[in-house]
């Protein structure tokens, strides 16, 4: 077991524990904050795996953008510390058994398919990733910019127009 193994196991344990706390904690606000820890731990995993660019994008977009949006949504929907919706105990037990089964199945299948022997980390460097984005993947990249623009416009339209009682009662629900 090398130092890289120890580092990955440490960061992976942090990520796993934080992800369980994110889905198990009763408070919605704490769940969002544990999601921050999970995503930061995942960025650490990317760093250990040698993908610095992906780790930076993860921190910038997820921790800086997505989680802030989630916190804003919690504030706007006034579902803070006590705003959880509890499901019934059999429901949660069934969900736990099913998700544990899926996790065990995936873990067994994936570890059996890749094997346990150690390999050297040979990640693509940032220049290679950049050449790939603007070479092989340039059309999906441009399509993604369009998707982001559409998502922003649609989000503004949905959040402002449709759904408000004023615009619906006026008969113009767009």
């Amino acid at each position: 077991m090398t130092g890289v193994d120890v580092m990955f196991i440490g960061v992976g344990l942090l990520t796993t524990g934080a992800s369980w706390l994110a889905v198990l904690s009763r408070s919605v606000l704490y769940a969002a904050l544990w999601l921050v820890v999970t995503l930061l731990g995942l960025a650490g995993c990317y760093l250990v795996l040698g993908a610095e660019l992906v780790a930076l994008v993860q921190v910038l977009v997820y921790v800086g953008g997505v989680v802030v949006l989630v916190l804003f949504a919690l504030m706007l929907t006034r579902s803070g510390v006590g705003g959880d919706v509890q499901t019934s105990v059999p429901h949660r037990v069934f969900a736990g058994v099913l998700s544990a089964g899926v996790a065990v199945l995936l873990a067994v299948a994936l570890t059996a398919s890749v094997g346990w022997e150690a390999r050297t980390i040979a990640a693509s460097d940032s220049a290679e990733i950049g050449a790939d984005i603007f070479g092989v993947w340039v059309w999906p990249f441009e399509l993604l910019s369009l998707v982001l623009l559409l998502a922003l416009v649609a989000a503004v339209a949905v959040a402002r127009g449709a759904g408000t009682t004023e615009s619906v009662s006026e008969g113009s629900p767009t």
Binding site: G12, A31, A51, V54, G83, G96, V104, E117, W137, L148
Partner: protein, 117 residues
């Protein structure tokens, strides 16, 4: 490093995300579960690039694309939650809980009429 370690972490993240989607009925918490599922997919792609001997850099590129699409998805989903909150007063996705509050959930799409509050 053995590629089985990141794969096991991805499987555990899938389990946590699936539990979040299945067991919770708060809309934002279900969204957190979906984010965990997407994170597991990204981790597997990065692992395939770093440890499984992929020739091109497509693994990190696909991971960055997944992160971008997840950001767009979160923006639209949270706009829908905000509109849902204005309409119903809560973001509970459970049908029984919605039916249990007649003063909040009697918005009928058939006649498109919203009770004045």
């Amino acid at each position: 490093m053995s590629p089985a370690l990141p794969m096991m972490l991805a499987a555990l993240l899938v389990g946590a995300g699936l539990y979040g989607v299945l067991a919770r009925r708060h809309a934002v918490l279900m969204l957190i579960g979906v984010e965990l599922l997407l994170a597991a997919a990204g981790l597997m792609l990065v692992t395939a690039d770093s440890l499984l001997g992929a020739e091109t850099g497509s693994g990190p590129v696909a991971t960055i694309f997944i992160i971008t699409i997840a950001a767009a998805e979160v923006v639209v989903a949270l706009a829908v939650f905000t509109a849902l909150y204005r309409l119903r007063g809560h973001v509970d996705l459970d049908v029984r809980a919605a039916a249990a509050e007649p003063d909040r959930s009697d918005f009928d799409e058939a006649d498109g009429e919203v009770p004045a509050r």
